[in-house]
Amino acid sequence: MTLDNGAEVIIGFEVHLELNTATKLFCPCATAFGAAPNTSVCPVCLGHPGVLPALNQEAVALAVRAAVALGCRINLVSRFDRKNYFYADLPKGYQISQFDRPLAESGSVALLGTDRKVRIRRIHMEEEAGKLNHEGESLWTADSSLVDFNRAGIPLIEIVSEPDMRSPEDGRLYLHSLIRTLSYLDVSDLRMEEGSLRCDANISLKPAGYEGDLEDLPRVELKNVNSIRNVVRGLEYEIARQAALLDVGGTVARETRGFDDASGTTLSQRSKEAANDYRYFPEPDLLPLRLEAAWVDEVRQALPMLPEAWAAKMMGYGVRGQDAEVLVSDPGLVRFAEATHAAGAPFPDVVSWILGDVARLQNAHHLPYGEGPLCAERLARLMALIGDGTLSGRMAKEVLEAIYDDDEDPDAIVAARGLRQVSDIDALTIIVGTVIDANGKVAEDFRAGKDKALAFLVGQVMKATRGQAEPAVVNRLLRERLLGGNPL
């Protein structure tokens, strides 16, 4: 994205992800969300003197899993460092993070719907801070704050991208693409609204003709925006604000700004401290983290199939590209489609049912795919009943609704409701004759060229058969009888 004044937009992201562990990164306190304040704390996560951190192995496993899925190189030796700063949510006065020896480096994320990639610079592990509850209308007017340390010490990974994005739309695509891949890994809840995924966007404007290092441009960090939509809004506002400053010969300050949802603007929070102001130094209480190459390979081999591979597989079965993309946006959908296919249903039909009526009904009942009355086996059986001609499409929809209402197998519903498509030609021929005799005027209209008259007659036959006639057969029989084709 190039602005009117020739400046180019430069965007990079730092995404923080809370890992799905049972305990915190350095102590055995539970990580449950929503517990009463300060009930999941201990001397380690409260930063009492003399305590020692003990690294959680599951956090390492999940972090490595995410990193290999994003194509990163895993550093077999990485190190924890102390990042020193003062804030009331940080009881030790420092955060245990990783500085110059991160867990992983040099990955990438393919941008959805494009042939471009955003490079991942690094992924490192660190601990969460506590949560501040400001007493007052806002942070700026509060007299005091209350601190809940339940969150302090929960394991995080920080995914740092290169500044490869050139527009807010690129940023949106990046976050969607990243979250889509991560959603297949079961490493995090990925809930932005609950804070288990948070993103900070770095944004600069590169003046036309600038040849220097992008890192040297004045950069604004947009902090902790709680939805992808607001990230886009914040970026759009920042681009306009910075461009206006540059247009009048001003300079953009290097600072951290927060996004204000109500006004759609960004507000200065603090001037951005340079990295050396954090006075990083190696954490003396933890050994360097040493991983074995063979174990990292095992993690890589054990990765689940990722969305790009799923989409390719679906298309190989004849699913339309657009449908495949919709399907793989949710790993729950993909697993349900795969299970239905494994239960004997052909893929393109599975996808068309799942993206259509099944999606509607699952959403209406607020159910994740595969949970509730409709299991993969029932859907596969329903589709088999269509395939062998027992049910028409309309009947199948009725049976599908009944599965949700009655929690019964399709065969039981078909039997209980007498739903069986009538395709017996002799029986239908008699009914067709009766309907034509009873509707002589309409039959004449059709013979005179009014095609719409046929629909009425088809409707009458369907009514006479309580909807169980096969419409295509009825149509054919009516035409033959009325237009004098093959004598019946």
Binding site: T23, P37, L55, Q57, A88, L139, A142, S144, L146
Partner: protein, 97 residues
């Protein structure tokens, strides 16, 4: 490495410490000698232990992800200087400009 007065002032500001001129002078000397000693130590230490293969599994030495409680939370909360509604109470975060 010898620290300047500005270095000491900078570190003191980050650590939220206010130094008298005498203290600042003393800290220049003390911190410079600490750093000089670090350099001596650094000369004698090899940079990295080579990656060994003596490990029985990938996670030896790491903690299992099993929750446990070491101390009653009420006792820990009671250690705070000010508490309210089960939380630690701290002065307002944002300083006046």
């Amino acid at each position: 490495m010898r620290l300047s007065h500005q270095d000491v002032e900078h570190v003191a500001r980050l650590a939220r410490l206010r130094l008298t001129p005498q203290e600042r002078e003393r800290m220049v000397e003390v911190l410079s000698s600490v750093l000089a000693h670090m350099e001596v130590l650094g000369d004698g230490v090899s940079s990295e232990r080579p990656l060994s293969t003596d490990r029985v599994n990938a996670f030896s030495g790491l903690r299992e992800d099993r929750p446990s409680r070491t101390e009653a939370p009420e006792r820990l909360l009671a250690l705070g200087p000010n508490t309210r509604a089960g939380q630690f109470s701290v002065p307002r975060i944002v300083q006046d400009a």
